[in-house]
């Protein structure tokens, strides 16, 4: 705007520098307005808007056209606000969704494995987490709570049965039964994870 045309020899068919400056300024404003977004969302937004500008105000667009395109896009601040609303859906900060996933997976892992690290107490911690979890129904909570006791009961019964049986049949029964109990546990905990995943925002 303050740059006067110095010589007529610079007048060419190339895009006027003024349009490049307009676009660069716009993208710079957007970069600053979107500073609060998660880095990946921000990068994608900037890429998308830059691609839009390359498509609609690419080489050959004059200053009037470029201004019109920028005007139609809306202000960088307006776009950043819309982006913040989208990344925050449906409630609160984007970090929360990750927190919810971590809680659900953490609960199931503690419930499944903590008993091996700290016997009984580890399992109780998992049960407490399960009952505090907002994404399981009461039925699922009871099922999750009774899983290990049921598995231990079944395993115990199998052991007794296996010892009672004659010859080489006993160990086979114990081994097969153990595998069935293990598969049951894994299935049940997978179901718990899926149930929670369905209810995560």
């Amino acid at each position: 705007m303050n740059a006067e045309p110095t010589t007529t020899s610079v007048v060419r068919s190339e895009p006027l520098p003024a349009t490049d400056v307009l676009i660069a300024e716009y993208l710079d404003r957007l970069r600053r307005a979107a500073a609060g977004l998660p880095p990946a969302a921000r990068a994608e937004l900037l890429d998308d808007i830059a691609a839009h500008l390359a498509e609609t105000a690419g080489p050959g667009a004059d200053e009037a056209r470029t201004r019109q395109v920028l005007d139609e896009l809306g202000t960088p601040e307006e776009i950043a606000v819309a982006a913040a609303a989208e990344t925050g859906v449906p409630a609160g900060a984007p970090a929360r969704a990750g927190g919810e996933l971590a809680y659900d997976v953490g609960t199931v892992l503690v419930l499944l494995l903590a008993g091996f690290v700290v016997p009984v107490l580890g399992w109780i911690a998992g049960v407490v987490m399960l009952w505090n979890g907002p994404r399981w129904s009461t039925r699922e909570k009871w099922a999750g709570t009774l899983l290990w006791p049921a598995a231990i009961l079944v395993a115990g019964a199998l052991l007794l049965l296996g010892h009672g049986l004659a010859g080489g049949v006993g160990p086979m029964v114990i081994l097969l039964g153990g595998l069935v109990v293990l598969a049951g546990l894994v299935t049940a905990f997978t179901i718990l994870l899926r149930a929670a995943a369905r209810r995560r925002p």
Partner: protein
């Protein structure tokens, strides 16, 4: 009102993609022409990102006859289901609101 519009525009995008795949500038053009988009056209991009994250649309890059490659948006089966559900709900909601509004006016 902006919330209502934003939520509704997402389904307008899905409806446009139900016809055929389109690239973003095309989508923006169609929405602007229909006057459905009250906000700046740039606000469509965060919306498109979200639809992609929610796996209601998928994108592919294609060369354009002139200029840089374009990202095309296409409806997924989940997107189509979501659109169908909205079509039903919207018709009910619109009729209910119309009824209440005309009652209020008379």
């Amino acid at each position: 009102m902006t919330e209502l519009r934003r939520g509704t525009i997402a389904f307008c995008v899905l409806a446009l993609l139900d016809e055929r795949e389109r690239y973003a500038v095309e989508l923006v053009g169609a929405l602007t022409d229909s006057q459905a988009l009250a906000a700046g056209a740039g606000t469509i991009y965060p919306l498109l990102s979200r639809l992609r994250e929610d796996e209601l649309v998928v994108t592919t890059w294609k060369e354009s006859p002139a200029g840089p490659p374009r990202r095309y948006y296409r409806l997924t089966p989940a997107g189509r289901r979501s659109l169908e559900a909205f079509r039903g709900e919207w018709a009910q909601f619109r009729d209910a609101v119309d009824l209440l509004l005309t009652k209020g006016a008379s």
